[in-house]
Subunit: 186 residues, 2 copies
DNA sequence: GACATTCTGCATCGATCGCTACATAAATGG
DNA sequence: CCATTTATGTAGCGATCGATGCAGAATGTC
């Protein structure tokens, strides 16, 4: 999975995979069927295993602001491998799959990314219903903003950005949150 | 160039290029030497021709806030092809080149991205010197934040985001700018 | 018109791509 | 202990990759 994460779909060859997995091509194809399915499986494994790094504190947070802050700060940490020795960036965000003959894979990745947005939005909606956020606040806008900042973090992480830098980004993004929320409360 | 822009380096084959350029492989290699050099030329052409779409109003703006705002809003517009029928996203930001045997290309792209950051920072520094920004403001942090938001826009644009969505992102990012700047002014 | 030079279309190079047939090794069941 | 099934390593499939050699067309010069 890590090699897909690092090199991406197109740039990773079956030879790379068999070498790093320590199995022959026969076993690989018996287990997964095709390169596409293997990538899909790797993506699912990625989402299942590292989801908690980004969303753990988000879910446990009591206030929506703490949740959003945790989302941004923990994304900054996870993407720069400060938790453990993980590859840089986010596999779901950066893993660009040429949509030529791989429409199915491209759709899977798109829906994976969309899932993160949905999680954000449903938390924001809950906060709005509970009166924690002003009713006038445009939830979708805020959700897209957060998603966009996090996506940008992934690119910066791939370019070698350190945790501190991305956390500074999160800090300013939270200033944007505060400003936008308080403006909607007027 | 557009095909490199859309499909990326790895996913674009020489056949694709000759077909869309209407020339044979011989002419292509006589003119550019290799796929790497052709991509580098395409990237330079991209930077030279579309630089103005993003940085035009930025340069002409009188206040630093207007410049930053123009940078974000015009990026949002350019990346969603609202100016003309350009491909989605930013070629320099999204064009991921597998750094296996293409270290030179990867470096070129990295420095292209770094150039945008430098432009931002130098404008911010000028504003700080002229007293338009508080001396306590961490210029690099702000520059990284703006770069990160714009990079995130590129990913959202590739995923089909419309101009209005990205401009909403820019709006909240500007709230972040205002909040962070006014905090540093205390 | 004859010649030299540049350019281009076609065929093809070796390498590698994703993938599979086949033979052998390991495991399982009686 | 043998027969049958399952798993793996090897060799190689057709296709395509980036890149070239070569011969003929186009162009320029006198």
């Amino acid at each position: 999975m890590r090699i897909f994460w690092i090199k991406g779909y197109e740039a990773t060859s079956i030879s790379d995979l068999t070498e790093v997995m320590g199995v022959g091509t026969t076993s690989l194809y018996a287990a997964f069927g095709s390169k596409d399915e293997l990538y899909a499986e790797a993506l699912r494994h990625y989402a299942a295993n590292y989801e908690n790094l980004v969303w753990g504190r988000f879910r446990e947070a009591t206030t929506v602001r703490d949740a959003v802050k945790a989302y941004l700060y923990d994304s900054a940490a996870a993407m720069t491998g400060s938790d453990c020795d993980l590859p840089r960036g986010c596999m779901a965000t950066l893993g660009t799959v040429g949509s030529d003959g791989h429409a199915e894979l491209a759709g899977l990745m798109r829906s994976t990314r969309a899932g993160a947005f949905d999680v954000l939005v449903s938390r924001l909606e809950r906060a709005a219903e509970e009166g924690e956020l002003p009713p006038a606040l445009d939830i979708a806008k805020v959700g897209r903003f957060l998603q966009t900042v996090q996506s940008g973090m992934a690119i910066r992480a791939r370019d070698g950005a350190e945790t501190a830098e991305l956390q500074s980004v999160a800090e300013i993004a939270m200033a944007g949150w505060d400003g936008f929320v308080s403006k909607a409360a007027d």
